[in-house]
């Protein structure tokens, strides 16, 4: 099968001696760095750490569900484990995953800037993330927390005697990390673009991050104040959510989901940005309907704020509010559909190759389509009654978050790995890993749709025996999935030393980030670029190459 990869002559090629990795040495040069690329690497390491913690917890959950009885662990242990799995995966992996690593690394380069607008705040946000992560781990080690990651009141305020306060504050701190990241991105994209880099020359990756950042900045503080109120209710006993004092527990749901619904767009939008870049590059083609894809990101961000109560359809909100929120939910589904079709038609008349990032991107498209369409099942109020709070919803959001976001994350990591490290990952084994992940994923989560249809409730440590076969399938799939995630971990580390030297532009891609050396210099560009070419302008790239050839000749 043909490939677009063009690597420099391995016999003579070297990773450039001067780059952001070698610019300064010593642990302090990393811990006090203002360089967005180094902070991205720091994030990448810490996020991977938390991903494997969350993944290990997921493994325990699946093991427990192998049998109908709660035999591996007692039910309160199980409750603590799925709570921690949710907290770690949502707040410490999914929310920061693509933005804090790839976004941090690439946005300044893509727009032709030397750094993010506020490098110190960027570093601060990593430290906040660490503090939040450490507090979460602390809460986990000192007895855990058993409220579920949704902290439903009055369960979390009055009926749980686990570490709700520590975990709540951990999420509060991690939330500010996310706010600062989003704030930094918005300001950077507005203010730091290179001359000639107009809004419609921005890569779609930047558009997606811009949209996600709006949600981070405007949504997260509502979660923060909600958690503060929960903590105050637990400590001094104020009565805002407590039904015995006249508070309304549903108000907590409103405030919590006002953030936590947009949060799913915070998680998925950056992933969509990655997919736009990858599909364009490996089809050698401008993204079909660039403006439609760009504006659909913004539309998702804006509409994302109007739909939160669809998490509460059966919770006794007013029937009329259900009508409104259900209708708006249908509207927010449309931009996602637009994106899927535009990606599909980007392939049309392209010149497609199937390197690993592209395989992950195909995986993303399939799984996200399923995840999105099943979201419509849940946004439709009549069917939501049957399906919500069952494994159907678990399967749905895992299709979107793991099948969508994690696929996109891996796609992006592979795609930009040469840029970040200067070395290629091994192609064959990584393609294998992509296929294994896809198969394992479907094996794990597709049975859960059926379980949900059959009515198996989520968060059950023990379940009726008739659901066992599908659960066994799911657990078996999870072990395949685990292998799929461990493989990249191994060969990516291997490639740091033994990977082929990548050169500046192994994919022959058009973005500004591919026109500089890999790994980049600390200041990214020796001179600030003046952008004249269009975005995804492959013809410009061809001319550029010819020019170089004639120049050298």
């Amino acid at each position: 099968m043909s490939t677009i990869v063009i690597l420099p002559d391995q016999a003579t090629a070297r990773v450039p001696k001067r780059n952001y990795l070698t610019n300064e040495n010593g642990i302090l040069s990393w811990l006090l760095t203002g360089d967005h690329k180094r902070i991205a690497i720091l994030y990448l390491i810490s996020i991977t750490f938390f991903f494997f913690i969350g993944g290990a917890l997921a493994g325990l959950i699946r093991l427990e569900l192998l049998t109908p009885q709660s035999d591996l662990m007692a039910s309160d242990t199980y409750n603590k484990i799925f709570t921690m799995h949710g907290v770690v995966m949502v707040f410490l992996f999914l929310v920061p995953s693509v933005p804090a690593t790839l976004g941090n690394f690439l946005i300044p380069i893509m727009i032709g800037a030397k750094d993010l607008a506020f490098p110190k705040i960027n570093l601060l946000s990593w430290y906040l993330y660490l503090v939040g992560g450490a507090m979460t781990l602390g809460a986990m080690i000192t007895g855990g927390v058993d409220t579920g990651w949704t902290f439903t009141t009055p369960m979390s305020t009055h009926f749980s005697n686990t570490n709700v306060i520590t975990t709540g504050l951990a999420i509060f701190v991690a939330g500010f990390s996310s706010i600062f990241t989003g704030l930094n991105f918005i300001v950077t994209i507005h203010r730091m673009r290179a001359p000639g880099m107009t809004w419609f020359k921005l890569p779609l990756f930047c558009w997606a991050h811009y949209a996600a950042s709006i949600l981070m900045v405007l949504g997260t503080p509502v979660l923060a104040i909600t958690l503060v109120l929960v903590v105050l209710e637990r400590t001094i006993g104020i009565g805002v959510f407590d039904p015995t004092k006249g508070g309304d527990p549903i108000l907590f749901q409103h405030l919590f989901w006002f953030y936590s619904h947009p949060a799913v767009y915070i998680m998925i939008l950056p992933g969509m940005g990655v997919i736009s870049e990858v599909i364009s590059t490996f089809s050698r083609k401008r993204v079909f309907g660039y403006t439609a894809v760009a504006f659909s990101s913004v539309a998702i961000a804006v509409f994302g704020f109007f739909v939160w109560a669809h998490h509460m359809f059966i919770m006794g909100v007013s029937n009329y509010a259900v009508l409104v929120f259900s209708l708006l939910t249908m509207l927010v589904a449309v931009p996602s559909a637009i994106k899927i079709f535009n990606w599909t038609f980007t392939l049309y008349k392209g010149s497609i190759t199937f390197e690993t990032p592209m395989l992950y991107a195909f995986g993303f498209m399939g799984l996200f389509t399923i995840g999105g369409l099943t979201g419509v099942f849940l946004g439709t109020s009549g069917t939501d009654i049957h399906l919500t709070e069952t494994y159907f919803i678990v399967a749905h959001f895992h299709f979107v978050m793991v099948g969508g976001m994690l696929m996109a994350f891996l796609s992006g990591i592979h795609f930009w790995w040469p840029k970040m490290t200067g070395r290629m990952y091994p192609e064959k084994i990584s393609q294998l890993a992509a296929v294994v992940t896809f198969i394992g994923f479907n094996f794990t989560f597709f049975p859960q749709f059926l379980l949900g249809m059959l009515g198996m409730p989520r968060r059950y440590a023990a379940y009726p025996a008739e659901f066992q076969v599908l659960n066994v399938f799911s657990t078996a799939g999870a072990s395949i999935l685990g292998v799929g995630y461990l493989l990249p971990m191994i060969y990516l580390v291997w490639s740091l030393k033994y990977g082929a030297v990548a050169g500046a532009n192994p994919w022959q891609a058009t973005g500004l980030e591919w026109q500089i050396q890999s790994p980049p210099l600390t200041e990214n560009f020796t001179t600030i670029p003046i952008v004249t070419q269009d975005v995804y302008d492959y013809e410009w790239l061809e001319r550029q190459k010819e020019h170089e050839v004639t120049h050298v000749g």
């Binding site: 001067r18 805002v240 004092k245």
Partner: protein, 254 residues
């Protein structure tokens, strides 16, 4: 875009070492000009203030809902607050906002003495605000109006036993409604407490700024910090502008 050329060297902390053309020392390496840097900083500050709006937004939502549900309790609760102290505090805070605005003007026009005095005035007014607030809190403490285990509904079921309630001619509330005053005071303390927390953070920053100003800082044109602190301080003022009528004033009639 030639990746192998080595032109200027820029260290990780952003000071241009080899740029030929003149830049002030405080221009960070990744900005083209000082204007870009200040505009960027104030844009960032405004985005941060948006998060603050949403932060208080949750509390305002709760307030609106519960005021509609438990109107008599909110009336009785607000009668416990002193309009005099509230108005005084409003006056203090608006004045501090004014002095802060003057401080920004002094920094812009490089008036060293003016800046120092404006900051001192702002600091005194800010501390004064917290002082008055703590007098109010202390009174609530003595009357057991702090939500929690010690909360007492005595003032509301038996208004004659309570000076403020008596002065406002409160009618006794039923025990059930009297208990809902705890919701009012929960919100009162959450809202004013969050506001006071912002004041405390502001005063801490103000102290640092004053320290630097006394030693001649902010006279070189690098006044982004003063300007952005001003924005923050005014925002805290705006929050109070809404808290004052909501908590003290609008429920006084029954």
């Amino acid at each position: 875009m030639d990746s192998h050329s080595i032109a200027t060297t820029v260290d990780a902390h952003g000071h241009d070492v080899a740029h030929e053309h003149e830049h002030p020392a405080y221009l960070r390496h990744h900005f083209v000009s000082y204007e870009q840097q200040t505009e960027t900083a104030s844009f960032g500050m405004w985005l941060f203030l948006l998060t603050e709006i949403m932060f208080f937004g949750g509390l305002f939502t709760a307030y609106m809902i519960y005021r509609n549900w438990y109107f008599p309790a909110f009336v009785a609760g607000s009668h416990q607050l002193s309009i005099f102290l509230g108005s005084l505090n409003t006056l203090v805070l608006i004045s501090s906002s004014f002095t802060m605005a003057m401080g920004v003007w002094c920094a812009e026009t490089k008036r060293h003495k003016g800046l120092v005095w404006a900051l001192i005035a702002t600091l005194i007014l800010g501390i004064g605000f917290l002082g008055i607030k703590s007098v109010e809190y202390h009174e609530k403490w003595e009357k057991h109006h702090i939500p929690g285990d010690t909360f007492s509904v005595q003032s509301f079921v038996n208004p004659d036993s309570d000076a403020e309630a008596k002065a406002a001619h409160d009618k006794p509330l039923g025990l059930d409604m009297a208990r809902k005053t705890e919701v009012y005071f929960s919100l009162y303390f959450a809202m004013t407490g969050m506001h006071a927390l912002h004041m405390i953070i502001g005063i801490a920053l103000l102290c640092g700024m004053l320290f630097k100003a006394v030693r001649g800082g902010y006279m070189d044109g690098n006044i982004a910090f003063v300007e952005n602190f001003g924005l923050y301080w005014h925002f805290v003022d705006i929050v109070w502008i809404f808290l004052f009528p909501l908590l003290y004033l609008i429920s006084r009639h029954q």
